[in-house]
């Protein structure tokens, strides 16, 4: 019932992108998103599309999966496009009721905004689809390590994140199980008005919270039994070390940035 969520999911596959250091993927995604907002003309976006297409091809993840993630933000995308289309000042093309008008500038902005948002979502799904949550938090921990100087508990935050991510599928499964058990006892989660539906959630939420606390308690106990006491002096079983491919990827990224922003900022008209 609850297995249809694809945004943020991992897609197991053997590819260059999957094997890449998570830091490269994280940094690359951030830089790619920034580059999208620097471009001013369609040529720049064509280069961005080409680059994204190449990465997807290399990752061996079916394109279908990327688009699935898009469905969830379709509404947001539509609203953004509509607002930009109608509320931008400039030279009008068509005017409705003598007040609201679509302008050239609005049209351009709406199209660019739609492209930016879709590329942004697809770009970040490439990262999550090719990186396991554990790898991702490892990468984040290492990249943000410098914040320790400012007394930010980077390791602890990363640990909490990876635990939270690890528990999402477990809790989803648990929800599914409890839901089924209560449906077997005649519970109805699907009909009735808002208040009735909210009330129907009680038999689901109470057992779910109890089980979440029980699991948290067990985990804390297990960690303590293994003498876990935070990040100080802790070593890693699989330390992150850059390989040849990672340096190549960085080079490709820099090349992409120079070309796309260089061309993207030219004034064509």
């Amino acid at each position: 019932m609850l297995r249809d969520i694809t945004l943020g999911q991992y897609y197991p596959e053997e590819s260059v992108i999957h094997k890449m250091d998570p830091r490269v993927k994280l940094g690359g995604t951030v830089l790619y998103i920034i580059s999208l907002f620097f471009m001013k003309n369609i040529l720049g976006y064509m280069i961005a599309a080409l680059f994204l297409g190449l990465v997807i091809k290399l990752s061996k993840v079916p394109f279908k999966f990327m688009v699935k993630g898009m469905k969830t933000i379709l509404m947001l995308l539509m609203i953004t496009v509509v607002f930009n289309l109608f509320l931008t000042q400039g030279t009008p093309i068509v005017t409705f009721f003598g007040k609201i008008s679509i302008t050239w500038e609005g049209l351009e902005l709406a199209v660019f905004m739609a492209i930016r948002l879709s590329f942004l979502i697809i770009g970040s799904s490439v990262m999550t689809l090719t990186t396991t949550p554990n790898n991702l938090t490892d990468g984040m921990e290492k990249m943000l390590g410098f914040l320790k100087v400012f007394k930010v508990p980077v390791h602890e935050v990363a640990m909490m994140m990876s635990i939270a991510l690890r528990f999402i599928p477990i809790l989803l499964e648990e929800t599914d199980k409890i839901m089924k058990a209560q449906i077997a006892r005649g519970a109805d989660f699907e009909s009735g008005n808002l208040i009735q539906r909210a009330k129907a959630m009680v038999p689901l939420l109470v057992p779910l919270f109890i089980s979440a606390f029980r699991r948290a308690n067990d985990l804390a106990m297990a960690m303590e039994a293994r003498c876990y006491r935070g990040g100080e002096g802790r070593t890693k079983m699989k330390p992150l070390i850059y390989q040849k491919n990672d340096y190549l990827a960085y080079a490709a990224l820099v090349l992409y940035l120079i070309i796309s922003i260089g061309i993207g900022r030219l004034t064509l008209f």
Binding site: Q182, A184, A187, S211
Partner: protein, 284 residues
Amino acid sequence: MSLVLDHVSYIYGEDTPLSMKALNDICLEIPDGQFIGIIGHTGSGKSTLVQHLNGLIKASRGHIYYNGEDIDGKEFDKKKLRSNVGLVFQYPEHQLFEIDVFSDVCFGPKNLGLPQEEVEARAKEALAQVGLSEEFFTQSPFELSGGQKRRAAIAGVLAMKPQVLILDEPTAGLDPKGRDEILNQIKKLQTETGMTILLVSHSMEDVAEYVDRIIVMNQGSVMFDDEPREVFRHYKELEEVGLAAPQVTYIMHALKEQGMLVDVDVTTIAEATEEIVKCLETLH
């Protein structure tokens, strides 16, 4: 009044890279009043199978008929089916949520839309059937012991008065005493009410003593479906799929190999004792 499975298959996550065939072309008939054990190794598809029987999972292929009606048919009332086919999940105590035991047991019959007196009468009856006395009625279900919690949860399903009761690993995580208590209570329930009972388990030892029929599941298919003694004859094949016959079967086979003329098909310890005594008497 019966359940019929007609070429049922089920695939988890169909059309995704993680798709997995959980059930493969299952054909079964479950007549009224039988006590059936469903045995299988972890991941053999036994839990998936029983969830089909009250419509919680829809079969990917094939049909399931309850009293001759297709349960996935458009006119079919699934809520009615769920009250007639009661399903007790694994670790059912995880579904308890009310402030006291009595209200928790009332949850099921209340959902059936019965009048309040009827709901309370049923709850009392169900709690008596599982052997929980009145002193527990006002206690919080979370304060009970493991075995008591489980019995309260089973009462929650019994209170709906199902005609078919399915129990998924009802003895998991209980100590031997708790296990025997639960199994004996289920047996008593079956003889007293004539209910059809399906007991899912991975332990032959648990079911051998109680059931009339054993269905052995392996990798999503039915491997054996027969009386216990017939199934245990295949004890070598059972071992190959990670299951085992009850210990008495092994003892009887060992005795026969030593030249004692015992019947190797006995299934319970009581029968085995009788058989061995009989054999010894004829020797002297």
